[in-house]
Amino acid sequence: MHVEKQRPAGSALMHFLYLIFIDPFVQMAQAPDLLAQTLWEGLVSGMLYALIALGFVLIFKASGVFNFAQGIMVVFAALTLVGLYEAGVPAFLALALAIVVMFILAFVVERSVLRPLVGQPDIILFMATFGITYFLIGFGEIVFGGDPKVMITAPLYLPKGAITYHTLGGMVQLQKIDIAAAVIASLMVAGLAIFFSRTRIGRALRAVADSHEAALSVGISLEQIWVIVWFAAGLVALVTGIFWGARSDVSFALEVIALKALPVLILGGFTSIPGAIVGGLIIGLGEKIVEFYWGPLVGGGTDAWFAYVIALLFLLFRPQGLFGERIIERI
């Protein structure tokens, strides 16, 4: 009697365990092309997460400010570019103007937010960046309208279309724009690395991460440094915005996606540029793989929370992240 009753339950459990622990890997092995395609997609979105995280890291390193507004800066930069272009400004001039706008933004933020709040606890500055975020959302929508826009690619000589490889018993499609993004992002990271290690300002920025007095001894005021890092973060945001915009639309929905940079930072640490990149890629890969192979088991949409749950686990077991330094509290 009870044997009869137990069997279906037992087999359901077995089946469930099979679905979780065996089946996804069988699928991967059976369709390596899909796996490769998924991995690629994961890498590309991971790269974009990494870029946003990079903006965070720049600002955090130099000013200790956890800039929640980095996500909206991406949107705002992209909107400025597209908006100017739509208003009839030639593409490259629009790009230049967008850069100028990002500079002005950095300047205004320094003047109206950072300077008055200097010396306040970190958490206050963090909350102030909420204010920046909301202000930019409202401001952006008033100026550029709330509707999604299409990112300009051709006028900026960005490639279009896809390269298709017939391999692994199927095919793998790589969007050219993604390849371009990867190249440009790599160049930008390399450029930033050179900037930090080779230029006087760059060294000052690194010094400021250690101590503010050290930066002053290099002869650069704290205020200037803030403007520079916020501007650098703005440039990173602009590049991020262009490529992300090219993949989807330019809209404020991006802002929520940009929050994913936060778990990236937990993984990579708040002060490490390589950490941001590796963290971004791990998150990007992880969430695509999980969503593709395990998502259907729970109804899909796992990429909405995967990154955060990973971050949560990290926080519990390795709060300093992959590369971050250990935080020692002293009394």
Binding site: S112, P116, L117, F135, L259, L262, P263, G300, Y308
Partner: protein
């Protein structure tokens, strides 16, 4: 100026540690309660009752919830929306399964579900704080939000994916559903908010409140005082989430009448957080002020220009409120990081020491 404290003296510790020790404050409170319970319903103005006061009170309740966590205990949370959602869905499921039980019982009970979920997501707070914890609460936010969408059982497999509030009666009066009157719903919300505010205020003025604030101000010293950090923080999560949960249930059952998952999204979390920041971290009265300002601001933006003959489009109103709220947060943080409550306190202090400046 209005304060004449001469002749007010305390002969017991009980009266000395009263939440409103000054006579004039007690009078003020009585007046406010009289206005809320008598004058406002007497207006019979559906707009004021249903579109202004009821939601204001619900937001204030959620703000109190978040304030307990963020303002009193110093734990930043971005998952308020989701905790409210837990309350709303729990209430929905409970009243579906046990329709005969008084709906108010379920509204309050739903808070316990929210509290349990809050404790679960509060566990990381032992090891992390500040914005690290904020990110951890984002996990709660997005995971729970996902659950609201992907677990159809939660919304009774409705095709719309939304929950719809069934009609329920209390002592023969319809209190929920489309046929409930605004006044009825307002009275229920008001009563609950008043009672819960009173309880929360009691809590923060006693041992537990001091433990929370001790953890907030200097957790190491608190620990060496014998305050165990994890239980204290988890209690804050539990109580906070309870309040948010009840607020969420009230929001759906006594205001919206129905809701889908997006109501409890990250933006709701932010809205409540801003209410708390602007109102004042660590202040009960600030929770009300913040809720009033942030909720009523868009209403004013809509109606003031209209009455001046300059009607704004609703999109513009929304954008403007975003900008203003954003700017206001920055200004408040610069001018007075402790928010409107602190400004009120300063004003009150000024009135007490009037005509002296200090």
């Amino acid at each position: 100026m209005l304060y004449r404290e001469t002749g007010q003296f305390k002969t017991t510790y009980q009266s000395d540690s009263a939440i409103f020790p000054i006579l004039q404050d007690r009078i003020g409170l009585a007046v406010i309660l009289a206005v809320a319970f008598i004058a406002i319903p007497a207006t019979r103005n559906d707009f004021i009752i249903n579109a202004v006061m009821t939601p204001f009170l619900i937001f204030a309740l959620a703000s109190i919830g978040l304030n307990i966590l963020t303002g009193y205990t110093g734990l930043l949370s971005l998952g308020t929306g989701a905790f409210m959602g837990v309350g709303a869905y729990a209430c929905y499921k409970l009243t579906t399964i046990f329709p005969q039980v008084n709906i108010l019982v379920w509204v309050v009970a739903s808070g316990f579900f929210s509290a349990a979920v809050g404790v679960l997501f509060g566990l990381p707070s032992l090891r992390i704080k500040g914005f690290y914890l904020a990110i951890a609460t984002l996990a709660a936010q997005f995971f729970l939000e996902w659950c609201f969408i992907r677990v159809p059982w939660l919304y009774n497999y409705n095709v719309s994916g939304a929950i719809e509030v069934p009609q329920r009666e209390l002592f023969g009066i319809i209190v929920t559903g489309p046929r409930a009157t605004s006044e009825t719903r307002y009275y229920i919300v008001l009563t609950l908010v008043v009672v819960l505010t009173w309880l929360a205020s009691n809590l923060v003025h006693g041992r537990i409140g001091r433990m929370w604030m001790a953890v907030r101000d200097m957790d190491l010293a608190a620990e060496l005082m014998g305050i165990r950090l994890l239980p204290t923080k988890l209690l804050a999560f539990a109580v906070s989430s309870f309040y948010c949960g009840v607020a969420g249930a009230l929001m759906v059952f006594l205001w919206y009448g129905g809701a889908e998952a997006s109501v409890f999204g990250i933006n709701q979390s932010f809205t409540i957080l801003f209410m708390v920041i602007i109102g004042g971290l660590g202040s009960m009265i600030g929770s009300f002020m913040g809720a009033a300002l942030i909720f009523i601001l868009p209403i004013l933006l809509r109606f003031v220009p209209e009455s001046l003959g300059l009607p704004l489009q609703s999109a513009t109103v929304e954008q403007l409120s975003f900008m203003i709220v954003g700017a206001m947060i920055i200004v408040i943080l610069i001018v007075e990081p402790a928010g409107l409550a602190r400004l009120w306190q300063i004003t009150k202090q000024k009135l007490r020491v009037w005509p002296f400046p200090y």
